[in-house]
Each structure stands twice: as C-alpha cells, then as structure tokens.
Symmetry: C2
Subunit: 674 residues, 2 copies
C-alpha cells in the first residue's frame, strides 16, 4: 500500500492516475472521464463552466444567476467585510444581508475576473530566448511576456502564464468586473464554526459561504453564463468536478528544491508565523476590541501555519525523497537529454539559494518589514521608479497589466490600526536582526540607535500613508513627489531600495535564471516521455478536475462523506470557535436537523480553490469548496488518492440557512429561478 | 573534508578522537592527553578538580576560595535574583554586590552538590533484571536503583546514574550544601550584553558571571578544595580542561530516534516555543513593568528556541542520517549480537512513540498545562499519592532522595505573577486543544463550556497555591489534605491524574522499556568492539574534557580566539540588548580597553556546562564557560572538531570589572589570596 501511494506521489512527473490532476481547460482528459465513468464532457460543457467561473484576489467564485450574483466562501470576503465595518458594526462578527439591491455595498478592492480566452505563445517565447545564456534568457523571457501582454485586445486584461515550469507559455485573457458588492455573509461564528481547531478537518460544520454581485455601469451585470444550484446535492460516489484556481503546488520540483523547502523556507516561515500568532493572541487577549482588530489576520495566519506544518511533515517522509530521486533517475535515463544535466544545475542553484535566502527574504521579499504602511511605501517608491521606464523594461509586477490592481489597493479606504502596525513591524524588524545578525550592515544602519520597537513606533506614528489621499497624491506625483517626500515610511522604503534590488538581482541571476532554464529542459523531457498525459503544477490559473463524493479510512475507521446539522448543535460549547449564533438557536425548532452540512470528495484541490463550485455532470452546482482534510495539505507535493479529500459545503444547508435562519427570501428566489 | 567531519559525527559509537568527549572521572583518557599534549594528569589532579566542582539546579559552578565562595554564570542565578527582587528593586537589572558577608542574601531554592563518591553497581542492576521481559525489567530496574540509593550512607545524597544507555550503572554520592547565598551579580545589560541576537555567537562580549557562597550552620562553609583563578588567562593554543555537568546529548541514539526528534519532537516544540515567545514579547511591550515580569522566562525560552532551531538544522543533514545508518550497519556486523536485532526493536518502539507522543506530552509531561501553579498542584497531588507508598514502589521522581528538592521548591517564596500565569496556561490549553483536537475526551471535558482563556483566568484567580503556607499545609497534610482540598488547581491536577498516569504507563511499557533493553544491547556491542575508548552521552552528571584555546574558520574567514573590551563599547547602541550600563560608561577612561573579554576553545561542552571552570594543566581557573558558538549546538548529535567551539569569559575582564567598575575590593582580595 505504501509503495502504491508513493508511486503516485510523483505523478506530476509520471502520467496522472484516476481522480488526480489540475488540468488546464485546453487539455482536460475527457477521454479518461468517459472511460472510467462513462460520462461525456464536451466543449460546450467546458466553455460554460469556464465562463461561469470567477477569479477573485486569492479565491475562486462562480456566477449563480443571470444578474451577476456570485457565490464564494465567507473567508474569501473577509477583507471586504473588514473594509465595510465600523467599530460599532463589525460585519465579520454580525454578518450582513442586503435588504434590497440598493443596499448591496461595494468592496473597493474586490475584482472579479473571468477567463474568456487562452492563446498559446510557447513558440514566440522560445524564439525570444533562443541562444541566450541563462541570465540573459531570464530577462528576455520576462520582456517578451510583457510585450505579448501589451499587444492584447483592449478592454481585456491579459496575463502571461507559465505552465509546466516553462514547458508552455500562454496569454490568458480575462473579462474584469471592477465593481463588486457585498450581498450576504453569515456571522463568523457559524461561517468559521470550529475555527482553527477544525480547519483542515473533516467531519466538519462550517457555513463558509457568502454572496457578492458584479456590477457594470452601476447596475447588476448581465451574466448569461452562470451555474444553477442543485440544492439536493450529490450522491455518495457521484462523479463531480471542481473548476477553480489552485494557488500553487510543487509536484514537479526536484529533490533539491524540496530539500530547500524542508530545511530552510518551511522551518523559518513556521517560526516567524508561530511567533506572530502568539503576538496577535496576546494582543487580542487584552480586550474584545483588540481581539476584533486582529481577527482576520489571525485567521489567515493560523491557516498558513497549519498548512506549513503539514507540508513539513510531508517532506519529512524520507521514502518520498527516495522515490523522488528514483523518479529523477528514471526520467533522466528515459529522456537522454543532451548537454549539462538539468537536475545537477538545480542542485547547484539550490545550494546558492541557501546562501542568498535570508537577506533576500528579509530585505527584498519584505519579511523584515511586515507592515501595511511599509508595503504602501514600497509600492509608491518602486511604482514611481518603474513607471518612469518603458513597460517592457519594468519589474514584472509593475507592468501596465498590473497597475489597476495596484492603484485600487493604494486608494482603498482599508482601515489601518496603528497598534497592529507597530506589533507586526517591530516583530519583523526584531527577527531580521536575529536572523541576519546585529552586525549586518543594513540592520546596524536601521537599529544603531533605536530598538525595533522604538523604530516601529516612530515610523507608524509619523507616517501619513494611512491616508488614502496622501497615497493617491504620491502615486500621481510619481518620482518627483516620492523624492520630495519627507514621510518617514517613504524615506525608509527609499533608503533600503538599493540593497533590496541588489538582493533581487543576485537572486534572479544566480537562482531563478538557472532553475528556469533547467526546469524547462526537465519539462521537455516529460513531454517527450509521457506526452500530454501530464498536468502542470498549480499557479493560480484556471483548472478543472474530476473525482467522486467519497469518504476515506482514518486509522482503520471509515469517515462518512456527509455531515449533518444536528451534530453541529451537539458540538457547540457557547464560546468561540465553537459558538453557534443566537440567530440559529432561536429557530432551532424549525430547522431540519438532518440537513446535510458538508461533503468530502476526492477532488484534487489546494488553496486558491476556496469558493470553487463543485459541479455535477449536468453542469449544476452541488457544493461549494472551502477546505480539504488534513491529508490534503501534502497535495502540494503529491496526490494521495487514499486519503486526500476536499471539503465542500452542501447546498442543502445553504438553502436551509437562507430560508429559515436569515429569511433571505428574495435572494433564495433568485438562486432557485431556472 | 565533509566526509572526515561526518565520520567524526558518530564517535559516541566509534572511539573518540582528539579533543572530543565528555568523560566520566573514572574513565578519563589521561594516556591520550599525555600522548597528544605531553601533559600528565594524575589522580590527585582529578580528585582536586572533581571536589572543587559544583552542580547547581541546571548549571555548573566551582569553589574559588576556602570560605565557600562560588563562581558561576549570571544566567545561572537568574531565579535567585528574581526571588530576591521587589518591584522597586529588580536585582536582575540593577545587579547586586553584598557590602559585607552579613549582607549576602540566601537563595531559597539554590542547592549546591559536590560529587564525593562514585560506586559502580552495574552487576547488581543486571542481576535484578536478568531473565525478565522488557516491561518487567523496566520496572525492576527502577526499583533496584531506588533501593541502591536508599542504602547509601547518611548525610550524603545518593543518586543512581545510568551511563552508556544502560551499559553501566553507578551510585553517585554528593555532599549537598542547602544554604547558598548571593554575593555578587552585575547588571543584566552587561551580563547578557548582545542578548538573544548574540547568544551562541562568537566573537562575544557578555560579562556572564556571578558569585554565590555556600554556608553551613549559618556560617561560610569551609571548602579546602577550591580552584585558584589565574587572572592572566590562557595562551592561544594552550591545553585546557572543562569540569562540569553537560545536560544531555544524543550521540549514541539510533537513526530512528534521531528521525523522531527531527520529525516530531523538535518541530512541535519549536512551534510552541516560538508562539510563547510572541506572547511574552507582546505582553512585555505594554509596559516596562510587564517587560521585567517576563524577562527571565523570555531569556530562557529564547535560548531554548535557538538551540532547537540549530538542532533541527543539524538533523536535516541527510548525509549525517546516511552515515548513521552505515555506522549501525557496521557495528551490527562487527558485534554479531545474538537474538532480535536491537536497532529493529528501537525502530518499532519509535513508530509507537509517534502515535503516543501527543497525548503523553500534553497530558503527562504537562505541555498542556504550562503554569507554575499547576506544577505545584501536580507535585502536591502526586506527592501525596506517592509518599503513601513504600519508597521503592514510587515513581522515581518522588523517592526519598528527591524529596528535599521538591519540598524546597514547594515552600520557596518565589513570586508568581497572575497575568503571566494566565498567559502561559491559556496558551498551552489552546495548543492542547489544537494538537489533540477539540473532540479528544479530556480536552472536551475541560473546555466544554469555557474557552482556554476563561478557564485559565478562573483557575489562576481562584487558586490559593500562590501562598507558600497553603502549599506547605497541603504537602504536610498528605493524601487526606489533598483529597479534602477544594482548590480549583488541585482539583484540576486530581481530575487529570488518572489520564496522565495512563499515558505514562503506556509510554513506559511500549516505548521506554523496549528502547531501554535494546539500547543496553547496543551499548554492550560497543564495549565489545571498541573497549573503554568511548564516553557516555551527557546526562547532567559530572564530566571532564580536554581541548585547546582555538578559533576556527567561518566561511573562509578566520575567527580569532580572544575578544577585547574596546569592541564592546563600539557595538553599544544605547538600547537593550546592546546597552552598556552607566556604571561602565562612568569609568570608561580608567578601564584598560585592551582587556581580554571572551575566549573560544575546542572544549566539548553543551548546556548544563554553563558556569563550568575552564582549567589549565596546573589546575587553575583560566576562564568561565558560558556558551558555545552556533556550531556547538549540533554537539547534541556529534562533535564537529573543525567548527564546534566553547565560549568562556576571560578572567582578566572579571578582575577589571570587580576592581574598577564595581569596586569590590574585599571580594577581589578573597579571589586573589593564595
């Protein structure tokens, strides 16, 4: 059994087996589905599902009515809820139901993108880098991708996509909705029932859904491509699909890259995150107001902590590492690549990465400056410098295609809480001093007179970047305005920018460039040996997978694939995270306690798939993805058919809640119209 | 080079090479020292050094005058300083110099033990367990060790010692001083200059020393066995010895045991510790008073965090693991042991340990109840039950030999701060719920109505165990008093004791017992193949090692073995942990800035050696051990001759400080008298 599992661990390299795979829509294995399940999936089905699926900032969603109504997770709209809250009206805690369409409230940073076209540009990219050394190729590749993006049709947002670590390149074309409004969210106590203890667990009872609406020209968008909800949900064993945006996986990475994760980036990240969790919890313990100030960040951080913890567990399986070596050996032998061995090149680059990682992550990636206000300052300083260059010469995150999202972030009236800023900034400065050492030149320069706390306190107190108007002025004023600014946070971002860019260049030339070149060679080897029966690692682009409604065996005990409402009431303790809101207790007698609550499926999903529709063969929504079980976390490295399960909300509990608890008759009618 | 280092990694299994080894005084390799360095070490030298060396609670010290004067580290007396402090007079921060002997202040929990005798009882122990199965042998072994302890001479404290994982058993006999008083401590700012950032670093400038005095019958103890300080210190390259109590190493453990550390205990411990660090730091950030309340715990916690972090790094060296396998293979082949393979037995027991570890560590080892008050409650509840049994039937930590230390702890007037108690207890309850899961029966029972914070707050507010008088009554009242008590912390300890003891029994029977039996077989194999040229893993019993004053090469750059005072002033920033106290700035002009400050040596030491004398061939003190460099942390698993360095305080800076900064003329005179 163990061997079988491990053989499957490496299927991003070898052809995918049943139920595994995050397929691009242009390469969905409809023939396999037909063969295994006897179900035909045609182009019309694929197009309909794709055009009904939405990409949010870091989640997935779908249209569920012709009037732009959107279904996604509660945890995907937390920043919107925070933005629309006031001290006396915390929407995260209280929930929200727009009594009418005019009361639907705009989330200023929420965009909704629909993938309307995909163009294969692999040949153009390969032509642009042909004959260049690794460093030159790395720059030329970025340049040609920016060029391809900017030649795209007007009105569409075009983004270059790298698949198979450079085996394929595409331009993905999105229709973007930039006016998205909040329609409904339940209280956090029921949406996140079970909280961090239950996160990545199944059986489960979290009502993790919310609804938004896309607007165009100030009116609900017309969205003829939408998915109908089948409130009866799926049967045990039924074939189901998930359309969504898995964020990132590392299944095709080499052993050296996984060892870097295991030895360096995961342990370091875990330590910093765990410490910050302690800071947040202690801060929140002093008052209810403080608890609410850090609630959203804490949720997100605890989620990340659990993920990293289980990823480290997965990489501590020495047998997995041994199989990875064996798989590399056999692919190397089968492909007989000419020239220098790409695995050896990645080994050497990973060794170099170990030396460069700490200053790169603290100074350039910002681990040393964990502050919303600092990130504004960095965007303003870099944005000014980069926009002064031609589009193709800029850092990729400042090209024209990226500017709308940046501008929207900069001017959004997202509240900034100075105590929380001091907390995060001082904590990260302190860790930078610990990890780089007190005698590291930049550390010494910043902290020669001040302690991390003193410096953070002064910066946060004196900066004016918490004012969206000030940020807008600096953005619009460009280089001249930024250079003239005496704002201390801007001065800090300017003072470290030289060092930071140096770290980045060194990292790109000595780590990223050789790995990019070698990975493309390995991808070519896989195509040569396995053909198209492989799928690319996840990168937050649209994917489709298939699987079934199914439980699993945990320590010899079967776990059933459905949960029901009655058990949620039984588990309630009265205190968060196991508190059921009064709105539910009040109507408990009227509720059908046998209503299915959550579903477990074999769908191959990861973070970023949150809010994805679970779809049946008829193209109806039969669930709403919001999590995976604890074994799903190792899905970053391999897919464990025996135990990896996705967790969806059952549509019946959505209906029960909207109908009997929240009395959202109009909304429910819109969802049930056919 | 790499191979050479790794070969040496496993020298607790293979014979020790030059400078490596934590030798017991009965097996010191004087012949090797003679051969390598031409220096004769005789029995008189060994006896003198042994009888001048002191074991403190978790440190080492030595007598430095015939009147009971003791030299140790500042960080070894932190709990004494805390105990003697008041809100207005924080001795940790302010330091202390007794103006006369009558002003020397008693540390109520400080004991000082001197090893006056060692009796080999291996044959008796082996006789007691002969023919028994693993579980029965495990119990019989503990029983015979308790019996051997209690038949020891009166007036001496006798402790059973297991060496070579059961290859040898000794009764160690200590003369105990139970009246120990504070004589001198510098301010924490200079004692711990560099703080956590500089911890385990060299070059270094921390004045980490303090002085105590042993008393007998209310007067300074007569200690004819003491070490004279040679204030000129050692030369570069000079042969030096360290006598002390290394706390624990795992050099002889099997690969399976190291993998358990790497995969389970180190990552879990790191996460909990990092989070608690964040809690402490955030708590301390709210006021200076709060910062001082958690200062000592935070120092100790950060030290542990750095250690664990580097231990995990050491275990992520796959080549080390591969060598460990190879070493096991070759020892197995050379020893040709009869019966079941002991490495396989340990493999199986380690697998079982993975399953039992979480409930065992949270419930029995107390990771779920991190609270001084709870630990009092546990001592009282268990102490009452255990003392009702015959001595040999008790848990080993409650035998007669252990009672004095327990009683002293229970009645000590150590201040307990309720906010800190709530912090640590709520944090650990929360983590227990996370790791065991909210549906684990004991977790559910404790937290069915309360959140971890509510429960912790109530327990801490309502318990009376912060009163030493209450604790004394309960201790003296025994089982009847404990059973009648309505104190909520006592009730908690009683409520979980059944579960906790069950976890312990299961762990002892299924993990400890088979590992003990198998480890003894492996030890026998080592004796058979390597003779006595091996040293036992550290276990906080007295050891002696030899080495030289020596720097090392770090990333191609040589690190010199001495630092000097001038650089400390250059590194000062004005803010802790890089603040030099005003007492030093005031006399800076009078100081010799070229005074040597710290020394780096090749001595093979680990935690527990803190406060150990660094001794020259004449038996004089030429330094005071207080740390190791960053590479020394991997010393838990192997000794890296190339880079592992111990860090000592130079005696010249002790003289300079006592003479010019603290004007401690009388004390200095006592130290300089010959």
């Amino acid at each position: 059994m163990r061997l079988l599992i491990l053989m499957m661990a490496l299927t991003a390299a070898a052809p995918a087996l049943a139920d595994e795979g995050m397929w691009t829509f242009d390469n969905f294995p409809a023939a396999s589905v037909q063969k295994i399940y006897g179900t035909a999936i045609d182009t019309a089905w694929l197009d309909h599902v794709r055009l009904s699926t939405i990409r949010l900032s870091n989640c997935t969603a779908s249209f569920v009515s012709p009037d732009g109504l959107i279904l996604t997770n509660h945890h995907c709209v937390e920043s919107c809820l925070a933005e629309l809250s006031s001290k006396d009206n915390a929407l995260i805690d209280l929930g929200y139901l727009a009594p009418s369409r005019t009361a639907e409230r705009r989330c200023s940073t929420q965009l909704a993108d629909v993938l309307v076209g995909m163009e294969d540009v692999t040949a153009k990219v390969l032509r642009a880098v042909a004959g260049l050394d690794d460093q030159a190729a790395n720059s030329a590749r970025k340049k040609v991708l920016t060029e391809l993006e900017q030649t795209c049709e007007r009105k569409l947002l075009c983004q270059a996509v790298t698949l198979y670590e450079g085996g394929e390149y595409f331009i993905y074309k999105y229709k973007r909705y930039d006016d998205v409004r909040l329609v409904f969210a339940p209280e956090a106590d029921i949406a996140a029932f079970g909280g961090d203890p239950d996160n990545f667990q199944f059986p489960r009872w979290s009502l993790d859904f919310s609804m938004l609406r896309a607007y165009e020209h100030g009116r609900p968008a017309k969205t003829p491509q939408f998915l109908t909800i089948d409130f009866d949900g799926p049967r045990d064993g039924e074939l189901v699909f998930v359309s969504g945006h898995p964020g990132s996986t590392h299944r095709a990475e080499t052993r050296a890259q996984l060892q870097f994760e295991r030895d360096i980036s995961l342990p370091g990240g875990l330590l910093r995150t765990a410490e910050l969790r302690g800071r947040y919890l202690q801060f929140g313990s002093t008052s209810l107001a403080n608890e609410q100030l850090v609630e959203a960040q804490l949720n997100s951080l605890e989620n990340g902590l659990k993920v990293r913890r289980k990823l480290l567990d997965a990489l501590h399986d020495d047998a997995l590492m041994a199989r990875k070596s064996e798989e590399e050996r056999s692919l190397r032998a089968a492909a007989r690549l000419p020239g220098e061995d790409p695995w050896n090149i990645i080994d050497a680059a990973s060794t170099r990465e170990r030396a460069l990682y700490l200053p790169y992550s603290f100074i350039e990636s910002g681990a040393g400056f964990n502050s919303i206000l600092f990130r504004y300052a960095r965007l303003l300083v870099r944005g000014a410098d980069e926009r002064a260059k031609p589009n193709t010469a800029r850092l990729r995150e400042y090209t024209d295609a990226a500017l709308q999202r940046i501008e929207q972030q900069l001017v959004a009236r997202v509240p900034v809480f100075s105590e929380v800023e001091v907390l995060t900034l001082s904590a990260s400065l302190q860790r930078m001093r610990e990890w780089l050492g007190p005698d590291y030149p930049l550390v010494r320069q910043l902290l020669v007179k001040d302690s991390p706390t003193t410096l953070a306190t002064r910066l946060v107190a004196e900066t004016k970047l918490d004012d969206p108007g000030v940020r807008r002025q600096l953005w619009e004023g460009g280089q001249a305005a930024v250079l003239a600014s005496r704002d201390p946070m801007i001065e800090l971002a300017r003072a470290i920018d030289g060092d930071a860019r140096l770290q980045r260049t060194q990292f790109e030339d000595e780590v990223e460039a050789p790995i990019a070149a070698a990975s493309a060679k390995i991808a070519a080897a896989r195509f040569k040996v396995y053909g198209t029966a492989v799928y690319p690692d996840a990168n937050f682009t649209l994917r489709l997978n298939y699987g079934t409604v199914q439980g699993w065996i945990e320590n010899g005990t079967p776990v059933a694939p459905f949960t029901h409402l009655d058990r949620a009431f039984e588990r309630a303790t009265g205190a968060a995270p196991f508190k059921i809101p009064d709105t539910w207790w009040r109507v408990k007698d009227q509720l059908d306690l046998q209503t299915p609550f959550c579903i477990s499926t074999t769908s191959d999903i990861v973070g970023g798939n949150s809010g994805s529709p679970l779809i049946d063969a008829q193209g109806h929504i039969v669930g709403l993805m919001f999590d995976g079980n604890i074994h799903s976390i190792s899905g970053d490295y391999w897919f464990d058919t025996a135990k990896n399960r996705a967790v969806a909300l059952h549509p019946a509990i959505i209906r029960e809640a909207l109908d009997k608890v929240y009395r959202a008759k109009t909304l429910l009618a819109e969802l049930m119209a056919r």
